[in-house]
Each structure stands twice: as C-alpha cells, then as structure tokens.
C-alpha cells in the first residue's frame, strides 16, 4: 500500500433539503481506498451507501443535495466544489462506476458498440476506427462471447449477465484508477453473480485498479474485499480488514447483520396430508408468429412438462435462474396465463374453466409477488388493498370486512392503524407484509410465493421467512415457493423442483437435493449460491 491513499474521504456529510425538512443521508463518514485495494461498503437499503458513492462522483441532484461538511480527496485533489471541467475529467476517466440495473443504465436505442465507443471518443479522443478496435478488446476482456457479433446488438438483445459485462467494459474503457460497483450483482441470477464477481476480481488484478464495492450481501464482501466498512443510518459503525470484522464483529449492528441469515428448517407435513394442488405434464407454450399472416411457426416452451403435487402444510420450492419458466409456471397454475395440462385444486380440475366460473375459487389460491413496490396499487390505502379481495368475493358487510382486515394486518405483524395509510409510506419489508395480508385475508388454501424475499434486505428476509413459516403452520397452507436464492429455499421448502428452460432437471426432497445434488446444473447452482463460485462445467449459460 502506498503512503497517500488513492481516495481519501473525510467527515463526508450529505443532506437533502426536502419540503418536509432536511434529511441527513450521510453524517460524517471517513474512509480511505489505497491503490489496487478493494473496499467493501456494507449496509441495508437506506443506509447511505449509494449516496456516498454518488457524492464521490458529484452526481447527486445538486442543489437539492448539499455537503454540509467534509472533503473527498482523489489523488490529493479536492472533489467537493471542484469545477465541472475538473469533474468531467475525473468522471468516467479516472473514476468509473457500474450500477445495479444494467437494463436502465444502458441506452436502449444505441448499439453496444456505439455506447462503448462514446466513452472512448469523449475521453481518449480516439477516431471511430481506433475506438472500434479498443471496444472489441474491452468486450473480449470482460468475457463477452462472440464479441464481434455482439457489437451491433442492442441492450435488449442481451441477457442480464451480458449487459452487466458491457457496463463493466464501458467503465473500464479508460483504465480508471477506481471502479465503483454499486450492487453490481443484485439484479442478476446467482450463477451470473458468481461469474461477474469472478470477472471483477480478475480485472482488478490485471489492471491494478482500486474497487469500491457497495453491497448488502455480506458473503460478497467476504469473498471480494480487503477491508470493509459497515454503514447504518449514514454513519460508518465499524470498519477494518474484512477477516478481522468477520472474525470479531465489535458493533452490535454488525453482529445483527451477521445473524440475519435466513435460518431454520421447514416443518415436514404428514405424508398423508390431503393434496391441495397438483398437475401433471403441465405445459405453457407461447406461439412464435411470423410472416404476413402471423402464422404460428413454432413455440417458446416456457414450461414444458412439469409434474408436481403440493400437500396441505407443505412447501414445494421451485428453483431456477431467471427465464427458466418459474414465474410462468406459477401464473399458469393460478390460471392467470393460458396453459395445458390438468390443474387440480382440491380435487377439481380447473383447467379450461371460464373466468366467471373460476371467480369463487380464486379465494382459495393466492399469490405474493417479488417486488413489494410494484405489487401494491399506489393510489389505494392499505385497508382498501387488503380488503379488495373481500369486496370482490362479497364477504361480510362493511363492519365485518373491517374486522377481517384488522385481524389480517395483525396476523402479519402490522399495526392495524396502518390501514388508513398509503403504500409509499412503508418500507420494503412492511409492504411485503401488506402483500401477504392481502393474500391471507381470504383464507386461501394454496399460496404461490414468487420470490417474496429477493427484493428485501437480509435481515428483513429472515423475518418474512419466519412469518411465512408461522402462517403456514397456523393455517395448514400449501406453498409453492419460487426462488433463485437457495439459502431461502433451504429455510422454507421441504420438496424441491429444479427447473431449467422450462424442464424439470431434478425433483426430490429438499434435504436429499441439498446434500447430494445429482444434476450438474443443480451442482452449479449450489456452488454459486453457497460459495459464490462460478463452475466451469458448461452447465450454466452466461
């Protein structure tokens, strides 16, 4: 490590002046990053991690945001208050940043080549031909296969992992001294996550740049970072070499974070419990239409021949990467998209029923979605959201409905008074509880949980898992639990279906699959999820 660090942050504070008053997002934090070092910045959402990163690049919405104090020295040069010209020279050139959402960080109307070229032409003054050559080099460096063909591709033609690779290529275009990676793997699958992390590690070693890694995932920090800082409410509560912090966490909040892993094991249902939902050789094929007459020329087999049985009190976990057909399977079983194959709910095959006929049965099957911000209507109060199902099914009069709403909210651990408030006033975890209350108020028998925890912070995840498990035990619910996160699945599911490209690759009791995964694809998933290792077996696509 050199004597003067690459980046020196001292007593950095960030405040936002909102109509409601001043919000102190960051309250005086200090840290250093040496040349070639990786610093992990850990904290839950809202702790000020991203604001810190953005203030290093001075990308906050000034003058709404301001720095009441502190300094940021990069190569000994003050960044706060520096002129636009100085900042432009630093941004994208000396300090580069990659964002969480590769889909929104790339401009959808430009080809990959154009977007990477742009950085090169702006900062390096390269002529288009030289830029193209360098772009190709960069895309190869970040391991984008068939780089040459991909040059003309648009962002939507690439997968999440490929997009993230392109983002990294853009960031690396000018050999930055510091790369800021803001949750670089949150939006991608576990297997891709392992590959991206591998890539970042490799590139750092090859190019000798420093890395500021922002994440809420402690395992990533442990694997990647030399030193780490734990942030809470805009302050750094603990910092030090990664191994030391993990070995002997000092601050209670750090210890709380470490203890937040989803724990516990599912309660096994009785073997002769009645079957709530079952299907055989279930298929969802989307037609591919082509030509002038839009004739069907083939099918996308989103779900292709899945057989499953969910019993009362049982949780069946459906595991697979994004695009494997997990969500299609769930929506098909709930008759929200069309499918083929029997759907037997409590002994009645509801496949092919008309929507009017089906409506009374909707009470018995419910769904909880992944994104608690998208699944609640922003213009309805919590009480209206939870009570909607009651209204649709004409259960009780206004007074009885109110009582049911109150008890449903209490059941999911929310203050019943919250029913008069609106979704935007709640945190992600609370919103997910509201979504669960909406499903539970109808007293369903079968509940689909579509990644209910993946948009939540670690410690909240554990709470939601505990809540779901408690509700299942109390009401003998049958769960179909969809997730790509095997840790969470392990805590909840007692039977697992591993699905890939719509087909079942492995199916069996959870314990057996976790102890001894047979299929190479399952093995790759496990390695990626539990050790963050990318397995080069060819079983996992990029």
């Amino acid at each position: 490590m050199t004597a003067t660090p690459l980046l020196q942050v001292r007593d950095l504070a960030v405040s936002f002046d909102l109509p409601e008053g001043e919000v102190k997002a960051v309250r005086g934090i200090s840290f250093d990053i040496a040349k070639g070092e990786t610093l992990g910045l850990v904290g839950e959402s809202g702790s000020g991690k991203t604001v810190t990163a953005l203030s290093i690049l001075q990308l906050l919405p000034y003058p709404l945001a301001r720095h009441p104090g502190g300094s940021i020295l990069f190569h000994g040069q003050e960044i706060i208050g520096a002129s636009e010209e100085v900042l432009r020279r630093i941004r994208g050139d000396r300090i580069a940043m990659i964002f969480q959402e590769p889909i929104t960080s790339l401009n959808p109307v430009h080809t990959i080549e154009k977007q990477v070229n742009e950085t090169l032409i702006v900062h390096k003054g390269l002529v288009p031909k030289a830029a193209r050559k360098r772009t190709l080099e960069l895309l190869r460096l970040v391991g984008l296969d068939d780089a040459e063909q991909r040059l003309g591709a648009f962002p939507h033609e690439l997968s999440g992992g490929q997009r993230q690779r392109v983002m990294i290529a853009m960031a690396l275009a000018n050999d930055p001294d510091l790369l800021i990676a803001d949750e670089p793997t949150t939006a991608v699958d576990v297997t891709i996550q392992a590959q991206i992390l591998e890539l970042l590690k490799e590139l750092r070693a090859k190019l000798g740049m420093a890395l500021l890694l922002i994440t809420h995932d402690l395992r990533i920090v442990r694997k990647m970072a030399d030193r780490m800082c734990v942030m809470k409410d805009g302050e750094i509560v603990e910092s030090g070499p990664t191994e030391a912090v993990f070995g002997r966490p000092q601050h209670p909040y750090t210890r709380h974070l470490f203890a937040a892993e989803p724990k516990g094991r599912p309660a096994s249902p009785e073997a002769d419990a009645p079957v709530v939902m079952s299907t055989r050789d279930f298929k969802i094929w989307f037609p591919i239409k082509a030509g002038l007459l839009r004739r069907t020329v083939g099918h996308v087999r989103a779900v292709d021949g899945v057989t499953l049985t969910v019993r009362e009190g049982q949780t069946v976990g459906v595991v697979g990467e994004s695009g494997s057909g997990k969500t299609s399977l769930a929506l098909g079983l709930l008759r929200l998209i069309s499918s083929r194959g029997p759907i037997v709910l409590e002994g009645r095959d509801i496949q092919g029923w008309r929507s009017r006929q089906l409506r009374p049965l909707r009470r018995e099957m419910q769904i909880v979605f992944q994104d608690p911000f998208g699944s609640l209507s922003p213009r309805l109060s919590v009480g209206e959201i939870v009570g909607e199902g009651l209204k649709v099914h004409r259960i009780g009069d206004a007074g009885e409905r109110e009582a049911l709403i109150v008890s449903a909210l209490e059941e999911v651990g929310l203050d019943p008074e919250t029913r008069h408030r609106y979704p935007h006033e709640f945190s992600g975890g609370q919103r997910q509880r509201i979504a669960i209350a909406r499903a539970m108020v109808l007293k369903p028998r079968f509940v689909v949980l579509d990644e209910p925890t993946s948009a939540l912070d670690m410690s909240v995840q554990a709470q939601i898992i505990d809540l779901l498990r408690a509700l299942q035990a109390r009401h003998k619910l049958a769960y179909l639990f969809i997730s790509h996160d095997l840790k969470v699945v392990r805590a909840l599911a007692d039977e697992i279906i591993v699905i890939r490209a719509g087909r079942v690759v492995e199916h069996g009791p959870a314990e057996a699959i976790f102890e001894n995964p047979k299929d190479p694809y399952t093995q790759a998933l496990m390695a990626a999820a539990f050790e963050l290792e990318a397995v080069e077996t060819g079983a996992v696509s990029i």
Partner: protein, 381 residues
C-alpha cells in the same frame, strides 16, 4: 401523520402534494380563479346584460321580466304582445306607477340598440361601452353571451371527448391484441377525414346549431387522449398489482377502473385544459368562417369576422382579439399549473419555481398549433 383534507374530502398524500404544487404555480392558480370567476359571472348573463329589467315595481306588485314574459297590457299598454321595455313609452307607463331595476348592461345580444347617434357600427360611448356591431347590437352584451357559449361548448366537448377517448384508449390498451390492432387502424383512417369539408357539406344540408356542431366535432376530437391512455393501460396491465387483483378474482371492469385508470388520469388531466382551449378555438374558427353557430347567435368568432369586414370600426376586432387572447392565455396558464402539479419530479422537490418562458412555449405550442391547423386546413386543401 396529519390527515390531508381538501374541501372536506379525505385525499391521499399524493393528491395533497399535487395541490400544493398547483398552488405553488401562482400564475396558474390565479388564472384558475380568474377563469372560474368570469365563467361563473357569465352563467348569469341574463341578469347582467339584458334588454328586460331584472325587477319591476308597478302598481303595488313586483314583476321579474327576465324570468317571466308579461304582456304590455299588464302595465296599462295597448298591445297583447310581450312588453318591449326598451320602448320609452312602456318605460314611462311603468315609472308612472312604480320603478324599474335595469341590469348592468341594458342590452341583450340579439336586440338592436335604438336611437344611435351615428350609423352602426357605432364607436364606444357611455351607453355602449364597447360600441355596437354592424347590426347595431351592443358589443358588451354579445361578448358576455359569446364567452358563455364558447366556454360551455368547450367544456361539454372536452368532457364528452375525454370520456370517449379514455374509454377507447382503456379498452385498446387493456385488451390489446386484435382489438387494439383494429381500433388503431380505424383511428388512423378516421383521423384522415377532413373535418372542415364535413362541416361545409353539413352546412349545405341543414342549419348547424349548438348540438349539431358539438356532435360533429365530438366525432373527431375524442382521439386526442386515446394514445396516452392506451399507452398507460398497455404499461399497467402487466404490473404486479394488476396481476394481484386478477388473482383475487376482480373482474376486468374493476381492474380497469380501480387499478389502472387512476394512473392514466394523470395524463388525461394534464391534457384537459389544452383540449378545452383547443375546442374553444375550433368553435371560434368555424364561426369566423361562417359555418358555426346559427346566424344571430352571440359568438366570438362572428365578432372577429365583423372586425375583419368592418376595418373602419377597430373596436370590434380589438375586442374580440383581446377577449380570446385573455381567455386562451388563462387556460394555458391553468394547464401549465396542472402539469406542474402532476410532474413527478416536482413532487419530490416541492415548490421549485418553474421556468416560465420555456414552459409556456412548450405548453402553448400544441394547443395553438392544432387550432391554427384546424382553421387553415380546410381552405388550403
């Protein structure tokens, strides 16, 4: 947190913030009040500008000629027909046994002013504040009635075309597929029908009146909102909360109205003031060309036409110009404030003062451009 209320109704915090943003745009806020006041006053045009008295006291009894028609014989006259209160003979009869309360402007829009000192159109005098037109009718009276009919026409057209447009857009966006495809092609064909030709043909067959014109313009004005509403529905139908509602068993109608429509209303409300001003301009343009409201109706377009014909009487053209300019400016200012209110970025930052010049140019351009195109398209083609 504090409950948000507006006019006694419980409103969501989002709505409260929007109201705040609307008020923060002072110009738009005051424009709304000014417009509402003018409109409210013009609703009572009969009591403000009329050639009949508001109240008559005659021989121990009260009469209200504005509301009820009385024969001249009731006031001791000779004719069985309704009394002509502007006739000095009738006035003398009444004042002999009582008194008369006249409206502020003692002329109606359709009655010629008698005993003008100069041939009509006569310049402004103390009796006729803005002079008279070429048929000796008082310009102030015609303005008040003309303003009322313009705004009422515009409002009716706006409300009806919004209802149809939102419904059509909602159906297209929500169901998608073939319905959407066929509807879109239909709209493309429909849009290409020249409105002015239709009006010309129609005017040759029947005499257009308020309702004919309204219906005809409605046939072509509902398409403004279809695009935005359709896009909003296309976007929202795959939202998780819409899926959740479907999983709860809610019907399509409930989902459309309760879950998706509120999203689309933002775009709709933002458009409304501009549609309103567009409707008013269209009516004025038709009146100006002589294909609008029937002869003798008070209308701003007709006043403009008179101004054009009687260039030696500048009070006609100037009056029509200023009234139209002020009315349309007020509407544009209101529209701007509404847009501010629904601007999600402003919602975060609160009362940030808008950049007036840029916004005005941006907001004014579509509405005015459209109307100008509407007025000029016909003759040009």
């Amino acid at each position: 947190m504090a409950e948000h209320r507006f006019l006694g109704f419980h409103i969501t915090p989002i709505t409260a913030r929007r109201l705040m943003n609307f008020r923060a745009n002072r110009r738009g806020f005051w424009s709304l009040w000014a417009f509402l006041a003018l409109f409210f006053i013009s609703l009572f045009a009969e009591f403000i500008a009329n050639d009949k008295p508001i109240l008559v006291y005659y021989d121990g009894g009260f009469y209200s000629p504005v509301i009820e028609a009385y024969a001249e014989t009731e006031f001791g006259g000779e004719f069985e027909t309704e009394a002509d209160y502007s006739d000095p003979f009738v006035q003398d009869l009444i004042e002999a046994k009582g008194w008369i309360v006249w409206p502020l402007v003692p002329h109606s829009y359709d009655s010629p002013v008698l005993g003008l000192p100069t041939p009509s159109p006569s310049p402004p005098t103390a009796r006729n504040w803005l002079g008279t037109d070429d048929q000796a009718r008082d310009v102030v009276a015609r303005l008040i009635y003309g303003f009322r009919i313009s705004v009422l026409f515009g409002l009716t057209l706006t409300v009806l075309s919004s209802i149809i447009g939102v419904t059509a857009g909602a159906v297209q966006g929500y169901f998608g597929g073939w319905i959407d495809l066929i509807f879109q092609r239909f709209i493309e064909i429909w849009e290409s029908i020249p409105l002015l030709y239709l009006v010309l043909i129609l005017a040759a067959i029947i005499e257009p009146n308020f309702w004919w014109l309204l219906g005809l313009l409605l046939l072509f004005s509902w398409m403004t909102l279809v695009g935005v509403v359709r896009a909003e529905f296309l976007r929202a139908r795959n939202f998780d909360y819409v899926r959740a509602a479907r999983a709860l068993g809610a019907s399509d109608l409930v989902i459309m109205f309760r879950h998706v429509l509120p999203n689309a209303m933002v775009a709709t409300l933002t458009f409304l003031p501009f549609i309103l001003s567009g409707s008013i301009i269209t009516l004025t343009a038709l009146d100006f060309l002589g294909f609008g409201l029937p002869l003798g109706s008070p209308s701003l377009g007709e006043l403009l036409k008179q101004g054009k014909v009687n260039l030696h009487a500048p009070w006609l053209g100037l009056t029509a110009f200023f009234v139209l300019a002020i009315m349309l400016s007020l509407l544009i200012f209101i529209g701007e404030a509404v847009r501010d209110a629904f601007d999600p970025r402003k919602a975060v930052t609160g009362g940030v003062p808008p950049e007036p010049a840029a916004e005005l140019a941006e907001a004014g351009a579509p509405a005015e451009g459209e109307a100008a195109a509407g007025a000029e398209k016909g003759p040009g083609e």
